[in-house]
Amino acid sequence: MNKIIIENDYISFDDEEVDVQFNTQNLTIDITNNVVINELNDCNIIQKLLINIHDNSTLTLNIFNQKASLNLDIEINIYDNGKFYGNIGLIANTENHLNVTTNMFKDNIENILNIKGISKKDGYFNIKVDGNVQKNTYNNMMKESIKILNLNAKENKILPNMLVATNEVKADHFVTISNISEPELFYLMSKGINRNLASKILEKAFIFSLYDEKVKKIIDK
């Protein structure tokens, strides 16, 4: 698949899967029908990303960034019967700021956001996630999961917010900041893999479990 390098401040996608590179600071994207966007390029140019998922449309957004210092605000507006699946994998060697706001404006919306980050060297995360469910909306579902693997002594800040203005919504959120699992490390070492390699395998697995096989292959390259 060819990669689309986006340098303007607006683009729309309709029923397609695209590999993109955001080479602009501000970008608005309109989504109709079923769209998959893969931004897997360590791009640190983009600072503000606004996405509108229109009625009856679905967006799967895969983002992976392992080198750049990230400073990104993402706002996602989801309309009637819209579905958003966000998978954001970040490896921080320096400071990483990420704000994600999702707004659920109508009914029958699925909004699932998974963020995984590994803080290494001098890296740390400052992540804020706001999920907004508007008044007089029905049958919506919102899930936020943010997991940080902390491999240094830096302080990570995670602020998960769910702002719900209706009585009818299924919502849950989950935040962890942890080290590499010692039982998993022990298990791999018990098969004959040395500690250093076992740690690398587990770091990769932590991030890769966000994505499907196709995205994993692209990142592996």
Binding site: E184, L188, S190, K191, I193, N194, L197, I201, K204, S209
Partner: protein, 250 residues
């Protein structure tokens, strides 16, 4: 092959094993039995240097060398292999990926992919598991029986010389138990490894006949004998070996 000499092990400031002694010769099958909570599983973990357990005294000797200071992976490279009671699941790491790395790490040579896949497919067939197990994440989303079969797939691929089975029957239904035990028996026939069986289920001995059985209580071996001990356990339970009534052998 494996000697445990006066081994005292501590976890959370508690003595779990107390001056334990054990000697398993090459190609022999040895069983350690005992009720829950007496330290049976600790032996398995200490043999592979689980970081949660600290050796306070004594030594573990493998093929004539003290291995107390060797890391878990170094011990695995020597040929030690553990099938835990509940094998760990790891999301995002495929069996094939882990096995290729483990083989390369053990042998110091790159793995030939074609022969690797040919061999692992034969193993899957033997274990009555679908080929897609090869590319599944390690033990993730698997039932108890599937996990044990998955571990056996690792065993056949890594070909260890000393196998430690911690409650191998746990989580297995009747059919899975037969397949798992038959596979272990086949492995024993083919490669003649030493096997340490930790169990309280004597049905295991129908497939792997032990050369000796030791009874463990409070971190100590309180009795050692032949398979006849298993018959006594079946009839009278572990009550038959209370410290006050038994002769201690080490």
């Amino acid at each position: 092959m494996l000697k445990i000499k006066d081994l005292t092990v501590v976890a959370d400031n508690k003595i779990i094993l107390n001056k334990l002694n054990l000697d398993i010769e090459t190609g022999k099958i040895w069983a350690i039995m005992g009720p829950n909570g007496v330290g049976k599983s600790t032996i398995c973990k200490v043999l592979l240097k689980d970081p949660n357990y600290l050796i306070k005294q004594g030594s573990i000797i493998y093929n004539g060398k003290i291995i107390n200071d060797l890391s878990t992976d170094q011990r695995a490279k020597l040929g030690l292999f553990l099938i835990a009671q509940t094998p760990t699941a790891i999301d995002g790491v495929q069996n094939s990926e882990m096995l290729r790395m483990a083989i390369a790490n053990r042998t110091g040579k790159a793995v030939d992919i074609l022969s690797f896949h040919k061999e692992i497919k034969e193993v899957c067939q033997k274990l009555d598991i679908p080929n897609d197990f090869i590319h599944r994440d390690i033990n993730a989303g698997m039932s108890g029986g599937e996990r044990k079969k998955n571990e056996l797939m690792h065993l056949w691929m890594l070909k260890p010389e000393f196998i430690i089975l911690d409650e191998i029957d746990s989580g297995l239904d009747v059919d899975a138990f037969k397949i798992v035990m038959k596979s272990l028996k086949d492995y024993y026939k083919k490669y003649h490894p030493s096997i340490l069986i930790i169990t309280h289920n004597t049905k295991v001995f129908k497939y792997l006949k032990p050369d000796g059985i030791s009874i463990l209580e409070d971190g100590k071996i309180i009795k050692t004998g032949t398979e006849e001990l298993a018959n006594i356990i079946d009839e009278n339970g572990f009550e038959a070996f209370k410290v006050s009534e038994s002769v201690t052998h080490e």
